[in-house]
């Protein structure tokens, strides 16, 4: 089969590799119909996350059609249309049984790697480096789904692929961001980052009864999308001082809920940005926490900071004094797809949310490098490139 593989930093190639096979009776194989790029892939492609090897198949946000099931798969038969959580969970460990699927004890075969890096292991993720399990990714014609009954979900009749694909990762991540931010009726919500996850966080904030949603980015077309599709107020951080603007827009209180949907490769301006760029370049710091700093400074006293943008290692100059003395609450994590996906499919089916507006470009795997270049450089108003393998 064809698969889009990592070859070197910012060098992806289509290779011919053997088709996946069922290894455990709980596995199934699906033919991938759509597989999306994701901002977190860029951290890998740009060389910021270690343990990616030349030849690894990328991609973790996908859907497809069942072609083969293991003997213990109960929920699916050949021909079913499914969307699959990017996080792989066993369903049996303490974490899975308490809805914290991305903390699964059992699905990372390379548990010793994160154990050294993070002190414990977490769930495996499709196509997301060897530290996260070394599972083959979804930018391929076929993919093996371990623990299929837990991680895959049947797509309701009548829904278009474009509306469903983001239920694999971007929507549950944005929804979990809003969930962790503890949005209540009357809450003012600020969301940094208007990529796929940010757009989905905007939609989710409304579902949870937010009073106002303020979205922050620098790309005019992404801000426009946040306004038009997400009914959000927007701040362009290249044109305005974000902290000042947020204070002015909230009559001096600051937002009740601040969501970081950007993570370790934040861009910005001024001294802080230059400082982090240099340190990251010199490998003295893995992550550029510009958004996190702003979120802490902007957040209302006693407010919530919710982090779904990915961080990989150490960060510098976090205003801990502000966080502590303002009595902020922090919640963060990789998304628990298995917890949220059934509910999100209902939102899509009822028409309350239609994430299909984020599919701005569709390509074949052969155009993989071109697709990622476009996504990285944000050319042609690119929100998400989706591959149809």
């Amino acid at each position: 089969m064809k698969a889009l593989c990592y070859n070197n930093v910012r060098d992806l190639r289509v290779e011919n590799i053997p088709d996946p096979a069922i290894i455990s009776p709980k596995d199934m194989i699906i033919r991938v119909t759509l597989s999306s790029v994701c901002g977190s892939d860029l951290h890998i492609i740009n060389g910021f996350i270690p343990t990616v090897k030349s030849g690894d198949v990328l991609g973790h946000e996908f859907m497809g059609e069942v072609v083969e099931t293991g003997s213990e798969v109960r929920k699916f038969v050949k021909g079913d249309r499914v969307v699959v959580s990017s996080v792989i969970a066993c369903g049996e460990c303490h974490y899975c049984q308490h809805d914290s699927f991305s903390l699964c004890d059992n699905t990372n075969p390379n548990a010793f790697m994160p154990e050294k890096l993070y002190g414990d292991t977490m769930a495996g993720i499709f196509g997301y480096t060897h530290a996260f399990g070394g599972y083959a990714g979804s930018h391929a014609q076929y993919i093996r789904i371990p623990f299929a009954d837990i991680g895959a979900f049947k797509v309701p009749e009548g829904l278009h692929d474009d509306s469903v694909i983001f239920c694999s990762d971007a929507f549950p991540t944005g929804y979990m961001a809003a969930d962790m931010a503890d949005i209540k009726p009357g809450s003012v919500v600020a969301i940094w980052g208007c990529g796929g996850v940010g757009q989905m966080a905007i939609q989710s904030a409304w579902l949870m009864g937010a009073e106002r949603v303020i979205a922050i980015d620098k790309e005019p077309y992404r801000l426009r999308m946040a306004r038009e599709k997400g009914r959000a107020e927007t701040i362009n951080f290249e044109e305005a001082d974000v902290l000042e603007a947020l204070r002015d827009m909230t009559a001096g209180r600051g937002p009740d809920c601040c969501i970081d949907a950007v993570g370790m490769e934040a861009s910005g301006s001024g001294f802080g940005y230059a400082y982090d760029k240099v340190k990251q370049w010199a490998k003295l710091e893995n992550d550029r926490p510009l958004v996190l700093r702003d979120a802490i400074m902007a957040c209302r006293k006693g407010g919530n900071v919710s982090i779904v943008g990915v961080y990989s290692g150490f960060v510098d100059k976090i205003p801990m004094g502000a966080a502590m003395n303002k009595g902020l609450t922090f919640k963060m994590g990789q998304m628990h797809g298995q917890k949220y996906i059934p509910q999100l499919l209902e939102y899509v089916q009822s028409g309350q949310v239609d994430p299909s507006f984020m599919v701005t470009h569709k390509m074949g795997l052969e155009q993989g490098q071109e697709g990622y270049d476009m996504f990285t450089q944000k050319t042609d108003n690119c929100m998400r490139v989706v591959f149809a393998p």
Binding site: C5, I17, S24, C90, D105, N106, N110, F112, Y135
Partner: protein, 270 residues
Amino acid sequence: MTQIKVTSAEYIAEALPDPIGSGSAYMNVGTSERIISAVAGLALMSFGLRRFSIPRLLVAAAGAALVERGASGYCPVNNMVKRDTSQAAKPESTEITKSLTINKPRTEVYQFWRNLENLPKFMQHLSEVTQIDSKRSHWIAPVPGGIGKIEWEAEIIEEVENEKIIWRSVPNASVDNSGEILFKDAPAGQGTEIYVVIKYLPPAGAIGGTLAKVFNPAFKQMVKEDLRRFKRLIETGEIPVSESRPSGKTQTIEDNSMDQIEKTYESPLL
């Protein structure tokens, strides 16, 4: 039912008896004598193998026996005449402790382990364990490189159902070892806590002791990974693996790096 009140690993370690140093760890030759044996043996071998003749071959064989005596610290002749010059270098046991929480009831976790024939399902270095009777069992581990296997017998010297098992290799084992596993209820219905201590005597005394120091971190990691596999197997019914070949990289003979990283953790020892 007796309650285990003490949970600290130190207590377990104290309670666990040392393995009996009668197998490969047993020595009866002192350090200076071992060095002399080895050097003299090498000299004899080098003389014996320089030219081919039957007498020279016998000399070489005698040299080889001396080298073996030096390296192992064990001399069958000494044993026969009850001579022991090794007082200065009695081997010290090496100890590994590890604890872990398993999301299954204590009885189930205990039963799975107590059926010792299950052990090779998650202990990577074992190929087979056979129960001889209710206490005794026969253990087989392949030697790396597929050049043979080592075997030993172990016996359970103490057990309390659903609480603990203590075992020890029987005298003359190829690897003198002992171990203990405790089973406790984890708080708030989180399943079972297990506490494991394994002690072994490094083969060949002081030389083995130095080697053991070098390899102990690897051995410790091996025990850790074995226990992780135990948890995964009993919780999910399988030991999850990523693809054996998740990669589109064409494999070449030089390119072993992929192999190493793709597999689940494998002991550098075995």
